[in-house]
């Protein structure tokens, strides 16, 4: 069964460094999302992406964040200058044009030291 994949599974970085989290959505899906879950808190929406542009973003998704679909298969989340509070699990999700839900990847654990 097709699934969303994410790399790396765990990323450790120093505060102020740039990180890129990578996702490969399910191949026939057209809507893409990033969510994050800070330890002990709820899963929070960051951004949705469709037709090569952002369709919605949350207030968390400030100028330090960006998303890109560089090659038609990968979907990336970049954090330009990481902060301690960016430490979280980051989940990529994708969705078909129709269907009940979004399908999530296994997540990348980002640890900012």
């Amino acid at each position: 069964e097709p699934e969303v994949t994410q790399t790396p599974s765990h990323q450790v970085t120093q505060m102020g460094q740039e990180v890129i989290l990578r996702c490969v959505p399910i191949s026939n899906h057209l809507y893409f999302y990033w969510y994050r879950q800070i330890l002990g808190q709820k899963v929070e929406f960051l951004v949705s992406f469709y037709n090569n542009e952002i369709s919605e973003k949350s207030e968390i998704f400030d100028d330090q964040f960006s998303v890109e679909r560089p090659d038609g298969s990968n979907f990336t989340l970049k954090i330009r200058s990481t902060k301690l509070e960016d430490s979280a699990m980051y989940f990529c999700a994708s969705r078909k044009t129709a269907g009940p839900g979004q399908f999530f990847g296994p997540g990348t654990r980002l640890t900012v030291l």
Partner: protein, 114 residues
């Protein structure tokens, strides 16, 4: 922002019995509700959903009930199995065109004991 609330952080049930997980919401614009299951170190896995035009949806051992007037939904698992032990998240969205973000509750940890 507490638009979706799961007031029970944990639930323990014996194998074979019914598990009932509850969820409340406050945003009247929500018209689609979903349940996800999450194991440690994995992403949320879609379980079952319900549109606001229905009050019940069933899929095997899983049934979701929606009470729009009370802004309440519940997930019933019958019979419960030890493999059902996981964190269950209720989620909601407004609209179903594809763009809509999911708003999650805080989750309920279900433990099914043999």
């Amino acid at each position: 922002d507490q638009q979706v609330k799961q007031n029970s952080p944990s639930l323990s049930v014996q194998e074979g019995r019914i598990s009932i997980l509850n969820c409340d919401y406050t945003n009247s614009m929500f018209d689609y509700f979903l349940w996800y299951k999450k194991y440690p170190a994995e992403g949320p896995t879609f379980l079952i959903s319900i549109s606001s035009i229905k009050d019940k949806n069933e899929d095997g051992r899983f049934t979701v009930f929606l009470n729009k007037s009370a802004k309440h939904l519940s997930l019933h698992i019958v019979p419960s199995q030890p493999g059902d032990s996981a964190v269950y998240f209720c989620a909601a969205s407004a609209g179903n065109t594809g763009f809509q973000k999911l708003v999650f509750g805080t989750g309920t940890r279900l433990l099914v004991s043999p």
